[in-house]
Symmetry: C2
Subunit: 380 residues, 2 copies
Amino acid sequence: MANADAISSLELRSLVTSTGRLELSLQRVTVAPPAPAEVVVRIEASPINPSDLGLLLGSADMATIAAGGSPDAPTLTATVPADRLAGLARRLDQSMPVGNEGAGVVVAAGSEAQALVGKTVAMFGGAMYTQYRKIAAADCLVLPDGTSPADGASCFVNPLTALGMVETMRREGHTALVHTAAASNLGQMLVRICLEDGIALVNIVRSAEQAQLLRDIGARWVCDSTAPTFADDLTDALAETGATIGFDAIGGGRLAGTILNCMEAALSRNATGYSRYGSPIRKQVYVYGSLDTGPVEIVRNAGMAWSVGGWLLPWFLEKVGPETGARLRRRVVDGLKTTFASRYSAEISLAEALRPENVAAYGKRATGAKYLINPNKGLT
Amino acid sequence: MANADAISSLELRSLVTSTGRLELSLQRVTVAPPAPAEVVVRIEASPINPSDLGLLLGSADMATIAAGGSPDAPTLTATVPADRLAGLARRLDQSMPVGNEGAGVVVAAGSEAQALVGKTVAMFGGAMYTQYRKIAAADCLVLPDGTSPADGASCFVNPLTALGMVETMRREGHTALVHTAAASNLGQMLVRICLEDGIALVNIVRSAEQAQLLRDIGARWVCDSTAPTFADDLTDALAETGATIGFDAIGGGRLAGTILNCMEAALSRNATGYSRYGSPIRKQVYVYGSLDTGPVEIVRNAGMAWSVGGWLLPWFLEKVGPETGARLRRRVVDGLKTTFASRYSAEISLAEALRPENVAAYGKRATGAKYLINPNKGLT
């Protein structure tokens, strides 16, 4: 199909009103024909990543979710506590499209992008929880033959974040790293990347089952934060690996600080003499997620050479430049069914993404409950 | 006096036992004759800076301090809570000399340092709470004629820290800065430096009196953290100045996070559209002190481009190199009675430094209660 007619598309929208009400709904939108360098993609797979949940759920209180609307036009509503509205000021009363990444088949293309028609492509750029997405051809990652949209749905966020961690580690002069919530899809990718690259990785998980899962795929250092010996286990692993940088998906609570303090304890095992300022070796934890949205609490026992800060994939990619970005994307495509394979617990339609029981499940941000939206799955 | 005999010197020592007991005492030590490139300085002035208190008081519980010993050999004891001993492991059961900086008169010099005999010099390097300190001639900063040891006692820690903040601000690409506990001696220096250099400085203080004190010396932006309008006042000041870096002397509690959040609020006033990741402009708070030794609590409302970390003068000086260090020291000496003048609430002897009422006063880390030790003041 060449420069076709406008296409009607059902799109998931998230609205937070200034009165503190979250409303998820499906809106009928019209996708205009593509410009010469654009394509229209029929999206068949788009994951619900933790990084989508902030925009999708707008800090609403999950205890208040309720179904609304009609079978043809379902909605989901919830209450956003008043003290959280200030942080959402710039999105209030605007219907926001959602979905960072997705994959599908090119169904229409402008004159300069005809070669893409019929190809399966992966995309990163927001508004992916929709049936048809218009996008610049240059922003599409063409997937190899035999790759399904579901295989390619999570090409960007998790794979590039995991590769970005390793890249950041190297650029900032560290030689080994720590990862939290390490049994996640992303965490499993990171285990495989580090095995391939011969990098020592200290995995922090929150149960014995998760620890076993990671050991089963080859992880050597796994610390269970629910074990009574956690701080000692972590310090041992840090002393063995020499890791002085960590990536934390959790954020709230004391874990980031504990990692810094255990890094310092590991470094001081080899120190001679007393320095009240601690080791001069910089200990860094980057918080890249908010599985716990509460305050980050840092009990300071790591001397003075410590740092905690935010880490964000798009800014990382901007910083390293297009060449490095292209190199990382090539590696992802090459390993899409191996190193970078994702697993989903359910494939749901747009309407099913609005059902309270599903929202409650994916809104928990629990390891192992990863949902894939297929916007072209039937509404019922 | 040339390469004289050994000198007897009374020296303040801090000992924390592995059983959790802090003991401050005065020890009689022998200072051997100086090597060719060394001098011996009779110390007449050495400040008790907040940065001395960690080593001096060893995390002891201030409610338990008690005088001991005899009038000739006074001691002070206190209990160190068991849960704080781990952080002190490397100093336990060692008698530690104390005192980061001081000034005095050169009373003996090696063959290569004869020109210094009789000069008043300032020093940085620990073990300054002593009557006679042997030190490399190269580590002495010769003070101009007419400068007393008391004038030069605080040549290093506060002046170089304040200058280091401005230097760090410039090197990391910021154009204005924030300072907490801003009515301190250091804070007043920073106000004068920023006035001289035309840099916008947002001062955060903890009372209306302190705010007035800073306004009286010319500070333009002063925010009182005890005022009910504090967050709004701070956001206004940050929007006006464009400050995106802060230096925090307090550490524990929520202030560092509040500064980041208000920086983000100030930046978002000029932003267009909604980004759930916040402004991409990096917001940095360096914690350089521990007036509150509790956990740093960061309520995250500053998007993803934020960082909190430790900052330490000696590591800063090492990083910027000797040339920059020499330039900063020259500026200090030139402004010793103006920009970099310190004020003390009391001059005390070594024995008086061990009196419970004095320890309680300087141990409070309160703005305006700065003590100067004169180790050659009579023992009584």
